[in-house]
């Protein structure tokens, strides 16, 4: 279903002379969307009409006026392009995740309404006038800041991805979910605007003995994590805007932390407190959760970094091939280490590789787009992409990861995705020996 607020927006200023009402327009639109390049129905297999009329109804009528939709919204025929959840994965939707529809996205920026969600106690709807950020602990001058205060500080805008470390977590044991959205959709990328955390920490004056910061949200989980001070001073941002507008409530409105290149859950949403201390806090979210259990019974804690990862977003299970011929294989790559150096593509399950084309901008700790020109001969193929980042780190296979970490570490599965293409063009999520 569409979000409720879409339906609640009244249709205004429909000219009386419009030859077709909204209902018949939609009906006709549905019949014709097969011809639209990105139409949801084309993927569902409805045949495109052989010969659309030379002049469609929308070409022989006057359209809706400005401010008909004062905020704006996607075309009605894009209604299926939404965040989706896996209902069997969690007890309820309040402590759960939703996945970005990567199969329908283009470029490196995730639209705000499609940015993946991870809540630990649901989404709070916060009154920004009552929201405060407290910075205290081992500081010279503990501060309480209003949103107005925060916006007044020198601002920066940066493009960074955020990925949940459980992205791909359903695939540790075996291929399980036949979907790009559900296997990779816990990554999104936006332009964030806010103030450098280092600016705020300079303002309060960090005491010499401070080594760690505890960051805490205003949600019901009072979600909190510990971060080393070095990272806080390096590139962390306290942001109030996302892709040019105020943060969405799902992304932490009115204030969140962005910790570039580190696992999603440390990017505390609804940020309300930063406390400096001399040791980490060992909170629940960094001991019983977001730690990686190894086959020998030990666990890795404080595994913040998102290792380099890439995935082919076309073709994919949701977007099969339509007969032999030339195609542009498309995909995304990212790394918490900095920039992407190279992406290679294999069509034979990793036996042979060719380098893909990287598309500008190639930004540090942001999604990078790659494409690869390819002619499909209609034979079965095994498609893979493999990223190498600027540190020389090479994306591993799932077999290599399992050799190191076994089957129960849940998080940080950054392995190479294999898509099996069958002769009919259908695409399946598989794993290789």
């Amino acid at each position: 279903m569409r979000p409720e607020f879409w339906r609640s927006i009244p249709i205004l200023s429909k000219p009386a002379s419009a030859p077709l009402g909204r209902r018949s327009f939609l009906g006709l639109g549905a019949a014709l969307t097969g011809s639209l390049a990105f139409g949801g129905r084309a993927a569902a297999g409805e045949p495109a009409p052989a010969s659309p009329p030379a002049d469609a109804p929308w070409s022989q009528s006057i359209g809706a006026g400005v401010v008909d939709r004062p905020y704006g919204r996607p075309a009605d025929t894009e209604a299926g392009v939404i965040r989706r959840n896996v209902p069997w994965l969690t007890a309820g939707t309040e402590s759960s995740v939703s996945f970005s529809p990567l199969q329908d996205l283009h470029g490196i920026i995730t639209p705000n309404g499609l940015f993946f969600e991870r809540h630990h106690a649901g989404r709070p709807d916060i009154d920004p006038d009552q929201h405060r950020l407290m910075i205290h602990g081992l500081v010279e001058r503990p501060l309480l800041l209003t949103m107005k205060d925060i916006v007044r500080f020198p601002s920066v805008s940066r493009i960074h991805f955020i990925e949940c470390p459980a992205n791909g977590g359903m695939e540790w044991r075996a291929a399980q979910v036949n979907s790009l959205q559900f296997n990779h959709g816990m990554i999104s990328c936006a332009e964030w605007t806010g103030v450098r955390l280092s600016t705020l920490l300079e303002e309060v004056g960090v005491k010499r003995e401070a080594k760690w910061a505890m960051v805490e949200g205003a949600d019901g989980a009072h979600m909190n994590r510990s971060l080393p001070l070095d990272k806080c001073l390096d590139d962390c941002l306290v942001v109030y805007a996302q892709n040019g507008e105020a943060l969405r409530p799902e992304q932490g409105y009115p204030l969140r932390l962005v910790v570039p290149g580190w696992e999603g859950n440390v990017n505390i949403k609804w940020l309300r407190r930063i406390k400096l201390g001399d040791k980490p806090w060992y909170s629940r979210e960094e001991t019983s959760k977001y730690t990686d259990l190894m086959p020998d019974g030990t666990s890795r804690g404080f595994t913040w970094l998102i290792d380099a990862k890439s995935v082919i977003t076309f073709p994919c299970p949701e977007k099969p091939l339509d007969g032999p011929g030339p195609y542009e294989i498309r995909g995304l790559a990212w790394t918490g280490n900095g920039k992407i150096k190279r992406v290679d593509v294999s069509v034979d399950g990793g036996a042979n590789w060719q380098s893909a084309r990287l598309h500008e901008p190639v930004l540090s700790k942001a999604l990078t787009k790659f494409t690869f020109a390819w002619r499909w001969d209609g034979q079965p193929v095994l498609l893979q992409s493999r990223v190498i980042d600027e540190t020389g780190y090479v994306q591993p296979t799932i077999a290599e990861l399992r050799k190191q970490r076994g089957l129960n570490s849940v998080y940080h599965n950054n392995s190479i995705q294999t898509w099996q293409v069958k002769p009919d063009g259908s695409v399946f999520d598989v794993q290789l020996a």
Binding site: L144, K279, W281, S283
Partner: protein, 224 residues
């Protein structure tokens, strides 16, 4: 002031120079925005408790018996009468000795390294529909009860700010707090890296019926 003349300021100033930004003195209070947080304000917000040494634990105490009462009222609906977990809500009890097993069970007893973390989490996040509404005494009692259900403390245990940090959790020494990655050493071979005939499919998601639909309305599929 001298104690704040540290790497924070030096790094900050270096970044400003590098960025060619507006000259800003990195002095505490340079901008002067906001208000100094008062001790009263900080007391209300300062809820964090540190896991390894219990720093921040408040006064108060709770027994295992009292914890059983509070638990029945506040927790059992989701976590089960004895911590066994209802539906897909988390189990709190059990799993001892399973961490190396094929299907490990991670619970407070089998996995959590620090007892004060349990107090902190119950206090800040539970009960889920009304977080941070329990008294300190009730949180101590619940902590005692859940530790006792896991056979970590005896039934006469009284949880307070002195006793909790001394509880040795069974899995305390099994965590490595420095990230050993990168732990894979893949080489970017380009040609004839493997015999194409050798690429065997070991598993496929095809036909498993675990994938919610990705078109049309949201799926509500439940496990078979």
């Amino acid at each position: 002031m001298s104690s704040s003349l540290n790497r924070s300021r030096l790094l900050g100033m270096a970044m400003m120079v590098a960025a060619g930004g507006i000259a800003q003195a990195a002095e505490p209070g340079f901008f002067g925005y906001g208000k100094t947080a008062t001790p009263e304000q900080m007391a209300g917000w300062n809820i964090d408790v540190r896991g390894d040494d219990g720093a921040g634990l408040p006064p108060g105490k709770g027994t295992v018996d009292k914890g059983a009462e509070v638990y029945a009222e506040q927790c059992a609906a989701c976590h089960g009468t004895f911590g066994e977990g209802e539906g897909r809500f988390p189990k709190l009890v059990g799993g001892a000795g399973t961490l190396r097993a094929d299907r490990p069970e991670l619970t407070v007893g089998s996995y959590w390294p620090f007892a004060p973390t349990l107090w902190d989490y119950i206090n800040r996040a539970m009960p889920m529909p009304a977080p941070h509404t329990l008294s300190a005494d009730d949180v101590y009692a619940l902590t005692a009860y859940i530790l006792n259900l896991n056979d970590v403390v005896p039934s006469e245990f009284v949880a307070d700010r002195d006793s909790l940090p001394k509880v040795k959790m069974p899995n305390r020494d099994s965590f490595i707090w420095t990230d050993p990655r990168p732990d894979t050493m893949a080489k970017p071979c380009m040609i004839a890296c493997a015999d194409p005939g050798e690429s065997k499919i070991t598993s496929t998601a095809e036909g498993l019926n675990l994938t919610p639909r990705t078109t049309g309305p949201l799926d509500t599929m439940q496990p078979k």
